[in-house]
């Protein structure tokens, strides 16, 4: 393949050698520059701020939900013999609670987790890792950010109009017979629009990976982060359109009162569930695969060890992506026919295999490593702990007879929080700390970040492990009130959520302190080998002064001095005895 030297564009590019964060003039000019930028790094940073705002909104809703569940509702007779409702904490009716959990679910899923790692960190890191100047379609990239913003505005509109109480799954017929259907329409349109943002990002990354790898970078020279994001993008492109048509049909059902899903007009409500989960199960992997992708980077760099079984890890990403399309029915074991349930249950167990492969390989990578207890490494370990629980509890839900008991209980709630939050959010936090010096050119306070990580770990387990027990003992999900037997476990869970919130606030403080007065970051603080560490921190506008050429494997820690580091800080092992190289 022919390559054109990086300086083709000529001398007028000199200002592109400045850090991408450099201001372009006055306040207004800078804002305009950011709003119209097609630089993948700036778009990544804009996504990062957008998803953090969404996380805050969703988090507040979650805390509200937990506070409401501090006590069951009880009516007692007061002295005058009247019935009095006691124990209601926040909401005067169930509807308030129902809206809060719907808001929490919808915001966290559609506005936060799905765009979080691919759109924010992926946008920033992926082209750098490939040695590319930008993503394949930079303008489409900016457009997808605006699509995200417009979609979010629809969601905000739905909230401001009074909120939606359908649950984030919008199950028919409840979502098509509600009297407040105009808000449901606003919310489903938001999901529809956000889907396009997701599709565009996915398309962009696939083409970038195919066409913009640095010269000399074969498929198996790519960092595993790129493999993970690539697999994610495939799912985004192939699954999201079905969500699009689902919510579009839902909107049409609400507006024109037609009958595809609504049984009152001859439709089939279970058909809606097939449509919905055909997207939303793969979407689970849109959420977790990027987390796994980050994990491989964190483990390898902070343990200074080549990822054990690189190809197994790479192919397991594709394997997960492929299998994710044919297991959606395990969300419907209580609703669908026996034959379909049996098929889906069998296929569901298959998806456990590639996930297990990844965990085993990460564990093996730690062997004989040089493990630094940095915050990214701490989050990698937290991820392995929590994701293992999340993954293993999936077995209870994939198995038909146990799922009949556990379906739609707090066991499910705990399971997917262990995967989504214990997996994806922990990986995201680790990834943000890992690339923070690269993104903003500042170091953060390691000690306080570790305190935050410890609080998050303790708070998370307190919040969600109790919910496994609540579920098996008989607590259904989405209950505003509950029988008093469950109160103590619910209270424990609520206390945990408070600890969790404090942990996140500590992290927020660490980030703000870093931006305000952090030590200037070296180009390669962790001794990483992938290409993003070869450029400055923060990177220059065009990423690299000269088009980089691949000279070593991204995980070849045994034989490569990390670029731009002091060799004394990252000593290499003894040279391999002759004939024993890899």
């Amino acid at each position: 393949m022919t390559t054109i030297p990086a300086d083709t564009a000529g001398a007028h590019d000199a200002h592109h050698d400045l850090p991408y964060l450099a201001r372009k003039g006055g306040w207004a000019t800078t804002v305009w520059d950011w709003m119209t930028t097609i630089d993948h790094k700036k778009i990544g940073v804009m996504y990062l701020f957008a998803i953090l705002i969404a996380f805050f909104v969703g988090g507040v809703a979650a805390l509200t939900v937990r506070l409401e569940l501090w006590s069951p509702v009880q009516t007692v007779q007061n002295a005058a013999g009247e019935s009095v409702v006691t124990g209601r904490e926040i909401f005067s009716s169930n509807t308030g609670y129902n809206k809060a959990f719907t808001l929490h679910g919808a915001v966290m899923v559609f506005l936060f987790i799905i765009p979080s790692i691919p759109a924010a960190l992926g946008n920033f890191v992926l082209p750098l890792m490939l040695g590319a100047k930008d993503v394949a379609f930079p303008r489409l990239n900016l457009f997808s950010w605006y699509v995200y913003v417009v979609g979010s505005l629809f969601a905000v509109a739905a909230i401001l109009l009074g909120g939606v109480d359908t649950g984030w799954t919008f199950y028919t017929p409840y979502s098509v017979i509600a009297e407040d259907y105009h808000r449901v329409i606003a919310m489903t349109l938001a999901v529809f629009i956000l889907g396009f943002s997701s599709i565009f990002t996915g398309m962009n990354f696939i083409v970038t990976v195919h066409k913009l790898r640095a010269p000399g970078m074969g498929w198996f020279d790519m960092p595993l982060f790129v493999w993970g994001i690539y697999a994610t993008s495939i799912i985004q492109v192939l699954a999201t359109p079905v969500l699009g048509i689902t919510v579009l049909l839902l909107t049409i059902e609400n507006v024109f009162k037609i009958g595809i899903f609504n049984p009152a007009y001859g439709g089939d409500p279970v058909l809606y569930q097939h449509f919905f989960w055909f997207y939303s199960h793969p979407a689970v992997y849109i959420m977790i695969l990027p987390g796994m992708a980050i994990m491989s980077e964190l483990i390898a760099v902070h343990a200074r060890k080549r990822i054990f079984g690189y190809k197994f890890v790479a192919f397991s990403s594709l394997g997960i992506a492929a299998i994710s399309f044919i297991v959606w029915g395990h969300h419907m074991f209580t609703a669908q026919g026996e034959l379909a349930s049996a098929i889906f249950s069998g296929l569901t167990f298959l998806v456990a295999i590639p996930s297990a492969i990844k965990v085993f390989n990460w564990t093996a990578t730690l062997y004989k490593g040089s493990i630094a207890m940095t915050t990214p490494m701490a989050y990698a370990l937290i991820f392995m702990f929590l994701f293992s629980i999340g993954g293993l509890t999936g077995l209870f839900l994939g198995s038909l007879s146990t799922d009949m008991h556990l379906h739609d209980t707090y066991f499910v709630v705990a399971h997917f929080h262990y995967v989504m939050m214990g997996g994806t959010v922990m990986a995201l936090l680790g990834g943000i700390h890992h690339w923070w010096p690269k993104m903003f050119g500042k170091m953060y306070n390691e000690r306080w970040a570790l305190v935050g990580a410890a609080l998050v770990f303790v708070g998370f387990n307190t919040t969600f492990f109790t919910q496994f027990i609540l579920g098996t003992k008989g607590m259904p999900r989405r209950y505003a009130t509950y029988v008093p037997e469950f109160q103590s476990l619910h209270q424990l869970s609520t206390i945990g959520s408070m600890i969790l919130a404090v942990g996140f606030l500590v992290h927020l403080m660490v980030f703000v302190m870093s931006l305000a007065g952090g030590r200037k970051a070296p180009p390669n603080p962790w001794g990483g080998l992938s290409m993003e560490w070869e450029t400055a921190s923060p990177p220059i506008e065009h990423n690299f002064h000269h088009e980089p050429v691949v000279r070593h494997h991204p995980y070849d820690f045994d034989d490569t001095v990390p670029p731009q580091t002091d060799p004394a800080e990252f000593p290499l092992p003894e040279p391999a005895p002759a004939g024993r190289g890899h």
Binding site: R304, F308, L381, H405, R478
Partner: protein, 361 residues
């Protein structure tokens, strides 16, 4: 609140992996429950073993191979194909066991024995209406949290097939103590079955053993505003008591006044999940003192009218609730058909509402 049970039923030859079951499960009160629990505990111990293995290795590695300044890491193999193939295929063995075991018990849950007695269960927002083979429905209720819920008697030691149907949105039938769950769908029937064993003995407030055991029936599929109040009690009793309870349902008109029958019917049809009889606020207007009141209502085309709450209005509001909605309330009620509440029953309900007092009439 259901009386607390004590102790576990003694089961012959518990499998070894059932150790620790008490942490996870409450009572088991059906023939399928021990099967589900047994698989659950099997998966639990297999998972725990894998989990401890991984976490143990991680802890050992993190301590032994921690980074020391100036110390170079050791070399190690970049891959080991036999090892990787082993941990790819070894888990499949356990997964296959779980799948087959789960599928076997799932089919057991779904194929009702031919001699099973059928109970029809109709779900609506937000109540359960059980109809027995003789056409009767439960009349007894129990106060649960903030609502009176029906008590559905079932016999001990005999299979019961439940045929479920919803008149509005999705619901799910779940009896945690039976480990039985099935979705209730508006456009088709679903079925499940159980054979109640009763589980541990329950006691009344004075510590006396009860002749029956009570088990929660929850709606497990989110169905709207009062999803969490959509509950019932399944009461497991011996055959004689069951037959007696069934017989008591047959003619609710015998020996009862019109108002009393109306109250039973209102309870049965789930009216009280939205309309209180004591003046407290709900999804719908309270019935206390409503009779004869003049209310401002919204008609379907958005106009505002005033109506007097009389027989005509009540009748219309049962068969076509959306026609005139009292101001300040949402149109959330699913209409009843004249098969669900016939003229005679309507008269009883009207009599009951009248009896709750109000202005004129």
């Amino acid at each position: 609140m259901i009386a607390q049970g004590t102790g576990m039923t003694t089961l012959a030859a518990e499998p070894i992996w059932n150790v620790g079951k008490g942490l996870w499960f409450g009572d088991d009160a059906s023939t399928v429950a021990p099967r589900v629990d047994s698989l659950f505990m099997f998966i639990f111990w297999v998972s725990t073993a894998f989990f401890l293995l991984i976490v143990g290795l991680i802890i050992v590695f993190v301590i032994r191979h921690r980074r020391l300044p100036g110390v170079a890491p050791q070399r190690s193999a970049s891959h080991n194909t036999p090892l990787e193939l082993a941990w790819t295929f070894l888990p499949m063995f356990f997964l296959a066991i779980m799948f087959v075991w789960g599928f076997r018990d799932y089919m057991y849950m779904h194929v009702a024995p031919a001699q099973a007695e059928e109970i029809n269960l109709t779900a609506r927002q937000w109540s359960w209406l059980a109809t027995y083979d003789h056409g009767g429905s439960p009349t007894e209720t129990m106060h649960l949290v903030d609502l009176d819920v029906p008590i559905i008697p079932v016999p001990k030691g005999r299979p019961i097939k439940v045929v479920l149907h919803s008149v509005d949105v999705l619901h799910a039938f779940w009896v945690p103590d039976f480990r039985v769950k099935i979705d209730v769908i508006p456009n088709r029937y679903t079925t499940t079955w159980f054979e109640a064993t009763g589980g541990a003995t329950q006691f009344d407030e004075n510590g006396q053993p009860l002749p029956y055991t009570d088990h929660y029936l929850f709606c497990a599929e989110y169905c709207g505003n009062q999803h969490s109040q959509m509950a019932a009690i399944i009461r497991v009793m011996d055959e004689a008591a069951y037959q007696e309870a069934k017989a008591a349902m047959t003619n609710i008109w015998d020996g009862r006044s019109l108002e009393e029958v109306g109250q039973i019917l209102a309870q049965r049809n789930g009216c009280f999940s939205c309309h209180s009889a004591d003046g407290s606020a709900g999804t719908g207007p309270t019935w206390l003192g409503i009779w004869g009141k003049t209310e401002t209502v919204r008609t379907r085309d958005g106009a505002t009218e005033t109506v007097t709450i009389d027989e005509n209005y009540v009748r219309e509001s049962i068969y076509d609730p959306g026609a005139k909605i009292v101001d300040g309330f949402a149109n959330q009620m699913t209409p009843f058909t004249s098969e669900q509440i016939d003229d005679q029953e309507l008269g009883a309900i009207i009599a009951y509402i009248k009896s709750l007092g109000g202005g004129s009439n």
